[in-house]
Subunit: 149 residues, 2 copies
DNA sequence: GTCGATGCAAAAAATTTGCAAGTAA
DNA sequence: TTACTTGCAAATTTTTTGCATCGAC
């Protein structure tokens, strides 16, 4: 992972937010992992390479990234928010299936092709009807896993 | 709203949980409202008719109802969890469209018919593949509302 | 009669805010 | 240079726990 400019640098141009070292380090950490990271997970991961980081900065950065549409924020029911990169070269668009009882979460990425036309249609209609500029979506299935049935 | 047995009473039979006054009152409050209620909203609403209620009971009840699949728990980004009845005679199956910037949430229920076959297919495949007993789902679109664009 | 459920007070955690100092643009 | 950012400490808020009492089945 060399140190060239990243795909996200363009997203920071002219949006009022500055692309600082801590923010880059947080984006790198999110890129490096394909887990559902909590703010503290990110804090600990980034501190290994950038020990000066404060937890407050992680929260503030995640909030900005969420508003920019670069990360998703999830509540998987374990008392802390979890974050995932929403786009980027290494990101596979996927959805979640979770157990209502134990909270286990499975990612799946089948059907993304099949979903496409339906979701585009919904997106287009909702955009017009409610005057939204829609740019992402999430599908979540709930149930009981094999151990909890 | 007369006092006969409710549709949910059957759901409590033989599941180990008891159908108590506070639990019924909380379910009534959820039925009465079509908003995205926080635990405190529910607490305040129920106390008008059942002043003895404690906030702790609201949290504990919502947790149980979530596990039973009777309510959905959402994080709409305002720092508190929000709850909705997931099923029942008065419930219209719907999804959400929310603004990444101001957090405004719009419910929509178009497309539920069109979604049906696709979601059933996904559900069936995921059920087999991951050995889950799936019984509900949620779709969430994200974007910028007219005021925030 | 049992064993789960409740409410209160206290505790635990996650997240946010104030502020002086640092730094991208 | 000018705002935007940062990290720390302190504060805020939501949610959870311990425990004696109560009540559904």
């Amino acid at each position: 992972m060399p140190g060239g400019p990243r795909w996200w640098s363009g997203r920071f141009r002219g949006c009022g937010y500055r692309l600082t070292i801590p923010r880059q380090a947080i984006l790198e950490a999110l890129t490096r992992s394909d887990e559902h990271l909590s703010a503290e997970d990110i804090y600990l991961a980034v501190r290994k390479v950038y020990p000066g980081l404060g937890l407050t900065t992680v929260y503030r950065t995640l909030d900005i990234l969420k508003q920019m549409g670069l990360v998703f924020k999830f509540d998987f029911g374990d008392g802390r928010s979890r974050y995932e990169l929403a786009r980027g070269p290494n990101v596979t668009h996927h959805h979640h299936l979770s157990c209502r009882s134990c909270g286990r979460v499975v990612d799946y990425s089948e059907f993304v092709e099949k979903e496409k036309s339906l979701l585009e249609e919904i997106e287009s209609t909702l955009s017009k009807k409610h005057n939204f500029k829609i740019n992402s979506h999430q599908i979540h299935f709930y149930g009981l896993c094999s151990s909890c049935q």
